[in-house]
Symmetry: C2
Subunit: 233 residues, 2 copies
Amino acid sequence: MIHYTHPNRILVALDCIIFGFDGEELKLLLIKRNFEPERGKWSLMGGFLKEDEDLESAAQRILFDLTGITNTYLEQLQTFGAVNRDPVERTISVVYYALVNIQDQDLNAIRSHNASWIGLNEKPNLIFDHNTMVEQALHRLRYKAALHAIGFELMPEKFTIPQLQKVYEAIYTKQLDRRNFSRKILSTDLLIGTGEKDTASVTKKGQLYRLNAEKYQQYLTDYVSFFPELTLA
Amino acid sequence: MIHYTHPNRILVALDCIIFGFDGEELKLLLIKRNFEPERGKWSLMGGFLKEDEDLESAAQRILFDLTGITNTYLEQLQTFGAVNRDPVERTISVVYYALVNIQDQDLNAIRSHNASWIGLNEKPNLIFDHNTMVEQALHRLRYKAALHAIGFELMPEKFTIPQLQKVYEAIYTKQLDRRNFSRKILSTDLLIGTGEKDTASVTKKGQLYRLNAEKYQQYLTDYVSFFPELTLA
DNA sequence: GCAAAAGTGTTTCCGGTACACCCATGT
DNA sequence: ACATGGGTGTACCGGAAACACTTTTGC
């Protein structure tokens, strides 16, 4: 193979920010490193880009290794390339963020990587520039969720409208009006009622809905002002 | 220096998508390659990341080399990393896009790189995945400009409101209502009237405004629905 | 019966849009 | 005078926000 006459080949890493929702709180899947460098500290799940691998494939591989999850929302966030961001060696990191249904996870895979779900409020300090990455991912998530219908990605197969509302309240750390929320969501035609009731609930059992997959495809690409009232500072 | 025991160091390139506005049309600064590979074809301006250089600095360096412009809007778009995107050698490319005031350019620098401003409608076919990059940059520009006040970045120091309107009409290829546009822009308090009149205009000379730098800083980070009526498909 | 959560309806208000009219300038 | 383009005001309409009321369930 022909090569460029350029000397500076650089190590390319990927890091994954994995968001999940447990019904109450927005959580991150973080690993407590049992390997060098920075053994014993917390970090995002990462890895290196292989020679014969697309960027997106590499991100999927890393996500799968940790969780066993394959088909999920995965989007490139940003590439971080400060000279000294990794003290071991010059490395640039292409960062992806994922929204996963926390129930789909493979507990064995997670355990073997020494990973845990940690609420955003309890997030420990992370190595390198991983704190900045998380901050930026959260910002992007808020941005996206206000304009596109991606909140569903954090839900299980079937869910009630109040459950969905909790996702949005967790994303924006803000209370939303139950009545307006319900009306807005239903007006999008994105949900299909299953007739079933939420057995988990203690009091009045809400109706379980599932996603209208067809409509959802449109909403992912189309711009939709989901929550204009939320300031995206 | 310690190194990771990982073999796959990869060539990291940067490409810059440079938008400009000539008063009528949205333009791209493209180069007709007088070097290999793909000599004679059109491409974005690019370069390789150096060992001791931040990503953002590298993008600024490339932009400066081509235009002589330093302080301008520059934002990382996305990193492109398909295995075969560069037929010469595996290379990932971190892409930035810039919004420049077309009058600030250094014509000598541009000429020496064999570059020209080309209207979006006359864009030639570009090498590699550069067409996709431009497409995506345009999408991002439309997205951003609808939510944040970045249209000003394409304007000269002083400008009239109708001139600014033409920028937005060029970005969205859509006619906007003169009266509503003016009211919306003025309501933001982003413009400061200079009292001077636009000498270029043939008929009624419009008032020249300049940017309220302080307010502008707020608007860059804050979310503002500038043009909710524009679909951001 | 009561508390807690889910579901539905109504009114108000603001902001976007569409429109009409006036002003300044050069020919 | 008139054509061209800049500047300001107003009325309407739709969607978001703020409210009240009813229903279901478990204790």
